[in-house]
Symmetry: D2
Subunit: 368 residues, 4 copies
Amino acid sequence: MPKRRTLSVALIGTKFMGRAHSNAWRQAPRFFDLPADIQMAAICGRDRAETRRAAKTLDWERAVYNWKAIVADPTIDIVDICTPNDSHAEIAIAAADAGKAILCEKPLARNVTEARRMAEAVKRTRVANMVCFNYRRVPAIALAKQMIAAGEIGDRVYHFRARYAQDWIAGEKFPMVWRLQSKVAGSGALGDIGAHIIDLARFLVGEIAGVSAVNETFVKRRLTKNRSYAKVDVDDAVSVVGKFKNGAMLNLEATRFAHGRKNQLSFEINGSRGSLTFDLEKMNRLRFYDAKDPAHARGFRDIIVTEPNHPYIKNWWPAGHIIGYEHSFVDTIADFVNALVTRKRIQPDFADGLKTQRVLDLIQRAAH
Amino acid sequence: MPKRRTLSVALIGTKFMGRAHSNAWRQAPRFFDLPADIQMAAICGRDRAETRRAAKTLDWERAVYNWKAIVADPTIDIVDICTPNDSHAEIAIAAADAGKAILCEKPLARNVTEARRMAEAVKRTRVANMVCFNYRRVPAIALAKQMIAAGEIGDRVYHFRARYAQDWIAGEKFPMVWRLQSKVAGSGALGDIGAHIIDLARFLVGEIAGVSAVNETFVKRRLTKNRSYAKVDVDDAVSVVGKFKNGAMLNLEATRFAHGRKNQLSFEINGSRGSLTFDLEKMNRLRFYDAKDPAHARGFRDIIVTEPNHPYIKNWWPAGHIIGYEHSFVDTIADFVNALVTRKRIQPDFADGLKTQRVLDLIQRAAH
Amino acid sequence: MPKRRTLSVALIGTKFMGRAHSNAWRQAPRFFDLPADIQMAAICGRDRAETRRAAKTLDWERAVYNWKAIVADPTIDIVDICTPNDSHAEIAIAAADAGKAILCEKPLARNVTEARRMAEAVKRTRVANMVCFNYRRVPAIALAKQMIAAGEIGDRVYHFRARYAQDWIAGEKFPMVWRLQSKVAGSGALGDIGAHIIDLARFLVGEIAGVSAVNETFVKRRLTKNRSYAKVDVDDAVSVVGKFKNGAMLNLEATRFAHGRKNQLSFEINGSRGSLTFDLEKMNRLRFYDAKDPAHARGFRDIIVTEPNHPYIKNWWPAGHIIGYEHSFVDTIADFVNALVTRKRIQPDFADGLKTQRVLDLIQRAAH
Amino acid sequence: MPKRRTLSVALIGTKFMGRAHSNAWRQAPRFFDLPADIQMAAICGRDRAETRRAAKTLDWERAVYNWKAIVADPTIDIVDICTPNDSHAEIAIAAADAGKAILCEKPLARNVTEARRMAEAVKRTRVANMVCFNYRRVPAIALAKQMIAAGEIGDRVYHFRARYAQDWIAGEKFPMVWRLQSKVAGSGALGDIGAHIIDLARFLVGEIAGVSAVNETFVKRRLTKNRSYAKVDVDDAVSVVGKFKNGAMLNLEATRFAHGRKNQLSFEINGSRGSLTFDLEKMNRLRFYDAKDPAHARGFRDIIVTEPNHPYIKNWWPAGHIIGYEHSFVDTIADFVNALVTRKRIQPDFADGLKTQRVLDLIQRAAH
């Protein structure tokens, strides 16, 4: 029997995504029977005090203050990139060149040029790589994928319609943050939340053939920490229509200006024999209309996706106990580790992330 | 070919129920292919001006001010009783003795004694008779009945649970009205709205074997038109548990003190192979859980009961167009006229209404 | 006191819309205190037997088989046009020239040219005129309009997003009907159901500045009554993004290929201080998010629009009793009669219908 | 500055609750700023292999096979009892006598006699003690408590109505398990899930004055592992009506025979100025009807309880990210540790658990 491997992980980034990924690395071995042990070796951030605190709270062995030290460290197997979008390319390419397996937060990069260089780097170096579009592993969405693949909504898709709506910057007095600056974020609602529904469109329906789009920046300037105003040079919202290569119609909207919508990633897919709908604000549910049900008893079924035969659920709690946002990251990392050890390809990889980036780019150009 | 018959109708009562029944008599021939013509001959009320106005607005040929004139009129075929509960017995018995077909608003009477006399009168005189428990003919409820009869939730019922909740007297300042006086109404929430869910319990599941109950009068006195206070001597709410003769468990609640519930007649039935739920505030829907659906795709189906194959719907609008409260009365009257002409028995008749009255009585005694 | 006027109405068309309008003419005087009496003088259709039957069932005094006879009849005051779209212009212009008040089903015409001629005719002849976009008078939508006007969602609208989805032709075997033929219908889902949400966009938010669109005909040919195939030359679905003149973003979708959606006219409006959502499949509800609610207790309010202080409701039933599809037509006709008698302008008139037609045209050209 | 304390924990039980509590001990220090360090010292179970596996997977330092060794170990500060109900009393009393702080799964015991002995033991020994009614710490329920306390639904409660419904044994072929045996479980649905809603009734509204009840065992015998049948001697369902000491009415139902209900702990509270409703299957939501809202805009608000100002949420994720079942245990354990270190009393303690046990007992006797 071969000796069980230990995978040493370093995570770069200490903010929201750093916390979500840390939790996932910590929880994955507790709920999944992983083929390797996980060593949470290092967390890296620029602010020393904050990074030390994060290491302690989030249970990393050590704090590091320069990502290059991580990449240069031969004991590290996996680099997990949770930084703002403007550093993804540089870190990922260096990590690939150092032979590290890479998990990178979405969107893959600020633009297609960066994303292409990243995809080329991992192809060249043959390192394991994945973009963390975590929502693919929400059980209800994974179930939707299975049902579509099994033909449960028919052999043809007519419509994919998705909306990612939030309201956290809908107030004019919300201050300037990095996500509202093109230099760091690349784009606004489009790249931040729109990227998720584009990834899901491609995951669930197929490649996109063409788009028309409009976007808007409703609040043109925001107050900075220096009490001066800075220009918002990214989109506050974007709305897209288009077609898939398979003939299905596409309708997408991403906005942070929808009062009352806290984290509403929702979609509806209409096929030739049925429909599916999902809303992340009710993430343990999938609604399914089966046009083959008896005529008197047709209606959207409100499936509570917490049964042992639903994707990922048997790893969590007994039937009927709902899971939350963070679990999608644990599922993602468990799959990543499994693929890494068994040397199987995993989706979405950087090549896949590049395709999503091309669609982001297409939309941005269409909106101008 | 026999000459087509004309049925001459007189309605007693000009308030809410008078309006609802008038509309039904007027609309029934427009949407249903009735086996007789309907003549809206007379409406009867005590207030002359109001009754004349009602006759004109509601399209009755003449206004009458004493119900005895109706009963004595040999040209009248059908008497429709929409008065407060304390006059049901007297009118109905006189109408039966005069050989009139009778439609009577629910509850049949103030108490079992009255109800028994009414049931005996129609039995003795063999006149067509019906109690207007209109909700039996809401399409979603009629569909529930069909599905239960067809075994779609299994051959055994475990639970029937219903609640009829409103909030129109939840404010302490709501004034005294006849529905809050035992002498006129018999009981409070129990007889007014509880009667409906007891009727549905019996209609959908079967006869009730025994009950325990509690009730309460939350606001003990109300302001009258004379600016003095009068005692509220009926229940504001009642809550009941019990068993059906077939072994199913019963849980009922009727209240007018549930803020936010405007007309929430809701029920859930759990059977050995599935469940059904209904809520009158969403009256065009029936929810159905089929435990025989594939394990990964089970969930309550939200059936929009507006398809041509649903009960009564083909008489109304094309698929997908919702109907309202008043339609249940039109459906009821159409069925009543059909039964009358074809001399078929119709449910719920007075004998059936008496059974419901016995349950009301049982609950009232249990609650003391 | 002036003598009370009687308005003599003739309705052209005996199918679905003919039935809906007939019901509205019959019911309006029963529920609304109209300033004139309504005489349901004549119904007109080409099929003699069917029209006679309709006259009897729907309660019209006489059947007529040529609309020109109606227009030529000096005793007729109001012409109500419920025919397929290809005859709207000819009938309406003739009726205007004959000095009749006109109610015309939507969309006003097959195209802008026809609509412009119609608008010019009523302007020239100064006859009362209205396009029957009945959904403006659904109480929940009328309430939304009031709330927006009162600033309850803020002084600025960010998003209007609407979808009108049905599934009645989603099956490939559904046969050819006039609504699928460009020559009669003008366009497909766009003009039939899309017209409603464009009207509501304009009613609730304002004029549209520009659009991008895609459309599709999923099933290219359908079986005719002759058992041969005919080409479907209208859109099965259309998806639109755009902007309003006031800067709000627009996202629209109309489709008849959404399995499970029976009559889902839904919209969401996001303003600077709140949001509103509506779904015709739950037509007695309006959802309202008030961003000014206390921070711990914010959430979409599910307003059951059946209270006496809600638009049109005091004419119907006591609080809490839901109404249906047909009531929107009664409300519309009551308003039309009131405006006619008091010589006030009513919305949407033909000039307004022309504006909607221009948007339909804009979308159709954008989609090519 | 005093030295930071380390609390050494031993958990007894390796099944569902063992896993849920293990996760909570592991996660609490990662999300809450606890006043002490947590040492996950030992997990105890009878099956050696299974317990060793649990220790490894769930991250406990060592496996122990006899709970008496735990109680006897002076290095252990906290004993967490996650065993079946029949061993709660013996373990808890021994732990109290050994001076351990105790967290005990609900229900506190099989009956009042046991519960009283347990309450006396912790009172006598003055050890910190808590019953794990975890749902009190679901953010939406904690928010409901705050809102009631602040008078947001008025100064008087009219109705508390709760239902805990599941369907996992609704099939006749589901085998015998310990939860269906009176000797181990004490009671059936009543003690297992009914206990939760009784605890919430007392938590949210107040003490219960009296009850009437019915119960039923629908499936009287179940197949054991030995392929023979054993009698089910606990209730499958129980239904209760009653009154609170403050005059509010009570209606409770607990059942495992409601097909489609996976883990539906739901309640509705109607007060003199508003209402609250909750459903564990939508656990991140609280619905609130405020009768003081403007008359045209009243409706149940669907509050998504994921904002930083909601209870416990700032410890988890940014606004809008939903949490799951397991988080209620982490919140509970964080509160327990805080109370332990600061020597504050915590609810529900054993004295409180005894009161719930008395209500369970009252219901059981009423149902006979």
